[in-house]
């Protein structure tokens, strides 16, 4: 299994690597602490909610109820859920176009997200933004951006605002292995380290930039090293293990809160579905996908742990499964019956 073997071998490499950086070098991987019962159950429910939501979105897309582009997050759930567990109120989250998971993780309501996907009036953007463009000031979610890599300077700007105001909030700026090759990412890295901005760059390496595997697109495939020439510390994380993500997130966020500048976390993860709904994903084998799904699924792993540690019984988990399914089904029901935006909305929100 590519994602996992890469994760374990390279995090070893990460801990022994000498990059000649300062003595406070944080390169040694964060120790992974066990989750409490509450943490495991909460992570399980959050990840399952994202999984079920995305499956439902895929289904609605298949029925023609969701239009345009629709990029599903299935397989990567542990990344946003683990990171969110490391945050506090006031921290900001920003990402690219594969963003439904991030929204749900920040606490945005499934109804509002699904209604935006169906282009309805009570969607988070009144139906004007769609899958790739949703925001919630209240939850600290700054989008939802459709141009690959554009969110990276924006997220750096959120961190700039934190520093300008002298608060201890941290900007969590997500992007993928594809966006990691955009020039503006490095322009941002440079300014972030230069000005010691509190931003955690979370690179979600799901191994494919649309249909191009990392090996075919990246001269340096260890994305945690992409900040080396700017003196930004980085770490590779098993992004399928929510505990590993949380541990790395805690460490990176603390680094930022202490005023030490940016931090890079490369999450080794995997997307089960195609790049978007219209991608048949013929650039990889079914065996490759199946192997991740059967041996290293982020949700199955937590579920197995919950049973093993007797945090919950099968029946109790089934109850959670049913709650999640109802929550998601309600959102779909809402999103397919909410009216489209009033025509008067065509000309609103251009200026304020």
């Amino acid at each position: 299994m590519p994602a996992v073997s890469a994760a374990s071998s390279s995090s070893k490499a990460a801990s022994t690597r000498s990059d000649g950086a300062k003595s406070s070098s944080p390169r040694a991987a964060a120790p992974i602490a066990d989750f409490s019962k509450d943490q495991d159950l909460s992570a399980y429910k959050s990840m399952l909610t994202i999984r079920r939501f995305e499956e439902k979105a895929g289904q609605l897309y298949g029925m023609g109820l969701i239009g345009g582009f629709c990029h599903l997050y299935i397989g990567q759930e542990a990344v946003v859920v683990g990171m969110q567990m490391a945050l506090k109120d006031g921290d900001q989250v920003i990402t690219g176009y594969r963003d439904h998971g991030h929204m749900l993780a920040t606490g945005m309501e499934a109804k509002g997200v699904m209604a935006e996907l169906t282009g309805r009036a009570q969607g988070y953007s009144k139906g004007k933004g769609g899958s790739m463009h949703m925001f919630s000031k209240e939850k600290g979610f700054f989008g939802g951006h459709g141009i690959v890599g554009a969110q990276v300077p924006l997220g750096t700007g959120l961190a700039f605002a934190n520093r300008y105001r002298g608060n201890d909030n941290v900007s969590i700026t997500y992007f993928g292995d594809g966006a990691a090759n955009q020039g503006q990412v490095y322009e941002s890295f440079n300014m972030a380290e230069l000005w010691k901005l509190p931003v955690v760059y979370v690179i979600e390496n799901n191994r494919y930039a649309m249909g191009t595997s990392v090996n075919r697109a990246s001269a340096q495939t260890d994305f945690s090293k992409r900040g080396v020439s700017f003196n930004i510390p980085g770490e590779q994380v098993d992004g399928m293990d929510v505990r590993a993500v949380k541990a790395a997130g805690d460490k990176a966020v603390e680094w930022c809160r202490k005023g030490k500048g940016p931090f890079i976390l490369e999450m080794l993860t995997y997307r089960y579905r195609g790049h978007s709904m219209s991608d048949p994903a013929k650039y990889r084998t079914r065996e490759e996908v199946d192997k991740v799904r059967t041996t290293h699924d982020p949700i199955d792993m937590v579920r197995a742990r919950i049973i093993e540690k007797k945090f919950a019984t099968e029946d109790e988990l089934k109850k959670i499964d049913a709650e999640v399914r109802d929550y998601v089904n309600d959102s779909a029901e809402f999103a397919t019956h909410d009216p489209e935006p009033d025509v008067s909305e065509l000309y609103t929100d251009i200026y304020r």
Binding site: R52, E55, K56, Q59, L60, Y61, G62, M63, G64, L65, I74, Q92, G123, Y124, S125, K126, K128, G129, H133, M134, F135, S136, K137, F142, G143, G144, H145, A150, P153, L154, T156, G157, L158, A159, F160, A161, N162, Y164, Q184, E187, S188, N190, M191, L194, R273, S278, P280, R286, R293, T336, H337, D338, E340, V343, Y347, T348, D349, I350, Y351, R352
Partner: protein, 470 residues
């Protein structure tokens, strides 16, 4: 209740596909995410995943079926405790006309769309809201007028707004220690410190995006581009991130930011450093575009731009930086964005321009006056929203229009003015609108060619005479 699996659309344009293969058979257990079938379109072969858990109770469309319409039930999933007998007898027969079946009992959701769309028949009747700008504030009698350069007026505008609002800061290349590449930010570092006057690396795309991010977080950045030519590296952030986010967020997330710097041709710097972006930015909904021609307007409008809650593109001109003019000495001199100014009154022909173009326009008006043609010269000052009303009112009086811009003619601001005049004052026109513009060539370096490439007062005079049939 048994759940239908529908033939999915895998792209927004897919209407039907072939059911190539079943990977599960009746009686098999399936869970969410399992691949149960393969379908083919003219574009690709795609996998169908189950979105529900249960047992595959019945396959309704056998493999090998061609042209199955999207949303046709292709199989039925049975939940816990359900039996194949629970499936409605009316389930469609496989190779019967599945296409029609869709219309009958498929997706209630489709009906839901139809219902919600129904009351909105008059969709074409929506009109854009009218643009209305306030008039210039009246300057109290006896107000002292101070002579200052455009550069000083711009600096004073920033300094006053920075004193008034701690969220306002300025960033860009050489704005702090060097005091501005064109000295527009002179003295700001000394007064406000390096937290609010920030030298950036040479990284336009990056710092423009960073500025937008800071604005999304509620700060009010002034982003200086050393020239607008370099902002082409940042144009994605200006348009896609700054201009569109308010709309894309349903009004939730605005972006109060000013992008400013010198625009247009300077002198002898050749093509890559001599371009007028007036038309480019004034094309974009969500942006305001301001381009003043004199120190007073520069001060009043930059203060307004900094206070405006929307992204503002503020196009200055290097040649005009050193030009002096009277600026009213008031505590808070702010001009309305979106309001043109009649720079010279006249009755025979209307000349419309802005920024550097005003120099040619006013010089031409002098010449014309000597020849008995009284030109009315309008300084647009703001290109978006454009003060069409002032132009139209003037045309009603003169019946003739000449536009003057340094930019190229095709899809230019002059073209837009001509179209609006035609649409709104056709019956008042006594001659076709004439455009004086930059020649459609990359700006040459040689002094003689550069002069030819730019508009001139003589060309404006000629155009004004031509529309006056003189």
């Amino acid at each position: 209740m048994p759940t239908d699996i529908l033939m999915p659309a895998l792209s927004p344009t897919m209407e039907k596909g072939n059911l190539a293969k079943w990977l599960k058979k009746e009686g098999d257990t399936v869970k969410s995410g399992d691949i149960i079938a393969e379908i083919e379109t003219d574009k690709a072969t795609m996998e169908v995943e189950a979105a529900d858990e249960g047992t595959l109770g019945k396959i309704l469309v056998p493999e090998g079926t061609q042209d199955v319409a999207v949303n046709t039930p292709i199989a039925v999933i049975l939940g816990d405790g359900e039996k194949a007998g629970d499936i409605k007898a009316s389930a469609p027969k496989a190779d019967k006309p599945v296409t029609e079946k869709v219309k009958e009992d498929a997706p209630s959701a489709e009906k839901a769309i139809a219902e919600t769309r129904a009351p909105q028949k008059a969709e074409t009747a929506v009109a854009p809201p009218p643009v209305q700008a306030a008039n210039d504030p009246s300057i109290p009698e006896g107000t002292e007028m101070v002579q200052m350069t455009m550069r000083e007026a711009l600096r004073d505008a920033m300094a006053e707004e920075m004193r008034a609002d701690k969220d306002v800061f300025v960033m860009g290349e050489e704005v702090a220690e060097y005091q501005g590449a064109y000295k527009v930010t002179q003295g700001l570092l000394q007064e406000f410190g390096d937290k609010r006057v920030i030298d950036t690396p040479i990284t336009e795309h990056g710092f423009a995006g960073l500025g937008v991010g800071a604005a999304l977080a509620g700060l009010k950045p002034i982003v200086e581009f050393m020239t607008w030519n370099f902002a082409m590296q940042a144009i994605d952030q200006i348009i896609n991130s700054a201009a569109k986010t308010l709309y894309m967020s349903g009004g939730q997330m605005g972006c109060q930011i000013v992008f400013r710097g010198p625009n247009g041709a300077a002198a002898r710097v050749a093509a890559q450093h001599s371009q007028d972006y007036s038309a480019w930015y004034s094309h974009i909904p969500g942006l305001r575009v301001v381009s003043p021609s004199n120190p007073a307007d520069a001060k009043g409008l930059l203060k307004a731009a900094i206070r405006d809650k929307n992204p503002v593109v503020f196009l200055e001109n290097e040649i005009l930086y050193g030009q002096s003019g009277p600026v009213p000495k008031l505590d808070d001199f702010v001009l309305p964005i979106g309001k043109a100014r009649i720079a010279r009154a006249g009755k025979d022909v209307t000349i419309v321009s802005w920024s550097m173009g005003m120099r040619y326009a006013l010089e031409a008006a002098e010449t014309l006056a000597k020849e008995g043609i009284e030109a009315e010269v309008i300084d647009l000052r703001t290109l978006k929203p454009m003060d069409t009303e002032t132009i139209i009112e003037s045309v009603k009086k003169t019946g003739r229009v000449v536009t003057v811009e340094e930019g190229w003619a095709q899809s230019g601001v002059g073209a837009e003015i001509a179209a609006r005049v035609m649409e709104q004052a056709f019956d008042y026109l006594d001659a076709p609108v004439a455009r004086v513009s930059g020649k459609e060539v990359p700006m040459p370096y040689a002094a003689n060619l550069e002069k030819l490439a730019l508009p001139s007062a003589a060309e404006v005079v000629e155009a004004a005479k031509s529309v006056s049939y003189k």
